[in-house]
Amino acid sequence: MLRVLIVEDNRIFREAFKKGLVDYFPSMVIDEAGNADEALQKIEGGPPDLIFMDVRLPGVNGLQLTQRIRKDFPGINIAILTDYDLPEYRQAAVQYGADRFFVKNSFEWDDLEVLVQSISPGAP
């Protein structure tokens, strides 16, 4: 049972993405957070196996949040979700310590499956 946290401030996208995940991975336990504080709160409550992290967040942005989580919870897999398929964003994702990089509107669900299967549940 893989536990996943989606950190995304836009409700429409968050829900659509969650729906997609549920459809693809029925066994997945999915939690949501709309901003950095909420996300940290959820993680401290019980660290997930995988976090899908939006870059644009109100206040502390996704990259800064990734850096902070990486420091306190090095075992959590973090995938950056962004609108921009640009080298600057990819480079920033690596620089701030993210494990994966997905472009919101053009990723393939099959790639996501490969990622999910590579993570063993309950690792941290």
Partner: protein, 774 residues
């Protein structure tokens, strides 16, 4: 007659006499010996006759053949002896003939007897025989007797002759002894009396001459060798006298020679002292190039002591190098030796001293030749040119200064010239061509109004200034005379304009004076008008000040407004972009996910629906892209997400892909955290505007972009290689678009506290420099 001749004659005379005596004595001795032989022979013959008589008797008595043979044998020897008789004197020859006759008869007698005795006849009686014997014996006795007698007589005669000969020989011997004595006597006379006496005379004469009396003459009457000797002596004395006469001259010559030697010694000493005192270094070598002499200056310059340098190779003592090429210099000594001429040193030669210092020198090498023209060594003369070089450098500087200064009057726009007291031009600068009237030419004489003025200044001997009109222009000319140097300096200044102004002023003044009259009465009423106007003006000025203040206030508020406008615009953009992202973008994404989910569900069931749905996805994707593009154009979210550096990079890349002919070279020398958050947007907007301007107007193909932090500021420089533009034209209506862009950039910069600078160069490109102080 010469002594030698006399001596020879004496010797020959006495020699001949002696030979004659010797021959006579010898002949006499031979005759004595021969006579003695003949005497003996005669004695033997007498004996032989006796013997024959005896033998004949014997035979006759015994008649035996033995006795006969004995007689015959004896007779044979007797006969030989007789035959050997040889005498000279007639008396002796008679006796010899007798002996021979008797001999013959004896022979005959005996033969007859012998034949009778040998052949005795029968008929003959003994008696007869006896008689016969008797007769024969008697005959033979007579004959024998006669022989003995003659022989004895002969012997006696010969003995007498021999005695005579002996006497003769004795006499001859005595004569020879006497003659020898005579020879000795003659020799004595000749030698002692004659020669020695003359010698004594000669000796006495030489003694006199020897004592110094060279005027003495030896007697020379004799005609022999001593006479010759005397004459020779006299000649010798005469010569000696001559020689003695030249002796004084010889002594004088010796004195002169000694003086010459002393002069030579002094000259040598002088030469040595001169070489030692000379200011140049002097080194002499032999033909092998070994040092033979160093003067004190050479010792000081080379650093070698004179003693240690002696016989050293010249190249180690006099080690020279080329200063510039840093190579060993030409071997002057070898060159001078081989070429047999004076060799000068190349420029930039330095002498390396024993301690390794380098001294710049000039020198020359000359071969030393003896009087026969043979090279016997080389002399090097050199001196330190350090001071000379410094002096040359100073001279050069002074010259440059002089040349530089000499340009000074040439560059003077006003006429400057110098003329001699006769009015001939010694110097004139180009500007003086106008006042001279015939161009600027040195050597010509001054003409026109200038000449009397110059002459006047010269006679007055003090500076004079005068305005002169020349070629339609007016000049203020001042002449400064230098009577001692016999020239004047002339300084001119074009005052045409001033004159014209003065003239105008004068005219005006004149007019004014004319007007004054009319004016005076107008003044009164005008004053009143003015006062009224003044009052009005005061009110206007107050109004102006009020308006100005209001304007300032308004400007300030305008500025505030402008800033707010920009901020509001930015804020608006940001908001619109966020809206697009959050609502349109996210909704489109949700739609896309939905469609994709539906697709996976219906894929197997309804192929038609699948195809229709699948065609929707690219459309949705396109809409998403479009929304994102609009959003980015409004305000790139990257600026907020990643910061200014990433945004600059992205924007440049996008720019380059849009305008493929333009390349951007980026130089970013600042860290993200060093850029204040408030400047991010400004930097981006200025960059955006700048690059858009370049793309639209510049025709550039290269942009240099620099963003860096210095100690005092953050600087952004955008430089292109395009056509540039004229800044004034930008402000005209035609350049409105560009002007607006520039103004926007300037405004943004200045509102954010920075300074904006643009340097367009027409045809070369434009540089925009923006700086925000830290």
């Amino acid at each position: 007659m010469k002594i030698r001749t006399q001596f020879i004659i004496t010797m020959i005379l006495f020699g001949m006499i002696l030979v004659i005596f010797a021959v006579s004595a010898t002949v006499t001795s031979q005759r004595i010996r021969k006579t003695s032989q003949q005497e003996n022979l005669a004695s033997n013959i007498a004996q032989g006759a006796s013997d024959l008589s005896y033998l004949a008797n014997d035979y006759l008595i015994y008649r035996e053949s033995q006795q006969l043979k004995r007689w015959q044998s004896r007779f044979a020897s007797f006969s030989n002896q007789v035959a050997s008789l040889n005498v000279e004197k007639p008396e002796q020859q008679v006796l010899v003939r007798n002996i021979k006759a008797n001999e013959q008869r004896l022979k005959q007698v005996f033969d007859s007897v012998a034949s009778a005795v040998g052949n005795p006849s029968q008929d003959r009686s003994t008696a007869l025989d006896l008689a016969f014997l008797q007769v024969s014996w008697s005959r033979m006795a007579v004959q024998s007797q006669g022989l003995v007698s003659d022989a004895s007589r002969l012997s006696q005669l010969l003995h007498q002759q021999m005695n005579q000969l002996r006497d003769t020989r004795t006499i001859l011997m005595y004569l020879m002894v006497g003659l020898f004595g005579l020879f000795l006597l003659a020799s004595y006379m000749l030698t002692y009396r004659r020669i020695l006496k003359s010698m004594a005379t000669l000796q006495a004469g030489t003694a006199v001459i020897g004592s110094g009396n060279l005027d003495f003459k030896i007697e020379e009457k004799r005609n022999d060798e001593i006479g010759d000797l005397s004459r020779a002596f006299n000649r010798m004395t005469a010569n000696l006298k001559d020689v003695t006469a030249s002796k004084s001259e010889l002594e004088k010559e010796i004195v002169e020679r000694k003086k010459a030697e002393e002069d030579l010694r002094k000259q040598r000493e002088w030469l040595r002292v001169t070489l030692s005192s000379i200011g140049d270094g002097v080194i002499a070598t032999d033909t092998k190039g070994q040092v033979t002499f160093l003067n004190p200056v050479a010792v000081r310059l080379t650093g070698w002591e004179s003693e240690e340098a002696m016989n050293q190779p010249i190249n180690s003592v006099f080690h020279i190098v080329n200063e510039k090429a840093r190579e060993p210099a030409v071997d002057l000594v070898s060159q001078a030796l081989s070429e047999k001429r004076v060799v000068g040193l190349a420029n930039d030669t330095a002498l390396v001293t024993k301690d390794g210092w380098e001294v710049p020198i000039e020198d020359s090498a000359a071969p030393i030749m003896d009087s026969a023209g043979n090279v016997i060594g080389v002399v090097l003369v050199f001196h330190d040119v350090t001071e000379k070089r410094r002096a040359q450098a100073r001279l050069r500087e002074a010259l440059e200064q002089a040349v530089w200064l000499a340009r000074f009057p040439d560059e003077n726009p006003s006429p400057v010239l110098r003329a001699s007291t006769e009015g001939r031009v010694l110097y004139c600068n180009p500007a003086s061509a106008e006042i001279l009237g015939w161009g600027c030419e040195v050597g010509k004489s001054l003409q026109g109004p200038l000449l009397p003025f110059v002459e006047q200044a010269m006679t007055g001997a003090e500076e004079a200034t005068q305005d002169i009109e020349l070629g339609g222009r007016c000049y203020s000319v001042s002449v400064t005379p230098f009577p001692a140097e016999r020239y004047v300096n002339v300084y001119g200044r074009d005052i045409t304009e001033r004159k014209q102004a003065e003239e105008a002023l004068r005219q005006r003044t004149l007019e004014l004076q004319q007007l004054t009259g009319t004016l005076e009465h107008q003044v009164q009423e005008r004053t009143e008008d003015l006062e009224a106007a003044n009052e009005k003006l005061k009110i206007e000025i107050d109004e102006c000040a009020r308006i100005e203040s209001a304007l300032k206030k308004s400007e300030s508020s305008l500025r505030q407004l402008s800033m707010e406008l920009l901020n509001a615009q930015e804020k608006e953009r940001k908001m619109v972009a966020g809206e697009i992202h959050d609502s349109i973008g996210s909704s489109l994404s949700a739609i896309k996910f939905k469609v994709e989910n539906v697709l996976t569900e219906v894929a197997a069931k309804s192929p038609e629906t699948t195809a229709a749905l699948r065609s929707v996805i690219p459309i949705v994707q396109g809409a998403i892209e479009e929304a994102r593009r609009i959003q980015m154009n409004l305000r790139p979210s990257m600026l907020d997400d990643l910061g200014i550096l990433a945004t600059v990079k992205w924007f440049c890349r996008q720019f380059e892909s849009t305008y493929s002919k333009i390349r951007i070279s980026q130089s970013i020398e600042i860290e993200e955290h060093e850029v204040p958050g408030s400047l991010r947007t400004v930097i981006f907007r200025v960059l955006q505007e700048g690059l858009n301007n370049i793309a639209k107007h510049s025709m550039a193909n290269m942009v240099l972009l620099s963003l860096r932090k210095t100690d005092q500021a953050i600087e952004l420089v955008i430089q292109d290689n395009g056509q540039g533009f004229n800044l004034s034209r930008v402000r005209s209506p035609g350049g409105a678009t560009l002007g607006l862009g520039l103004e926007s950039m300037r405004e943004r910069t200045e509102l954010s506290g920075g300074s904006f600078k643009i340097e367009p160069i027409e045809g070369k490109g434009t540089t925009i420099g923006v700086s925000w102080p830290l």
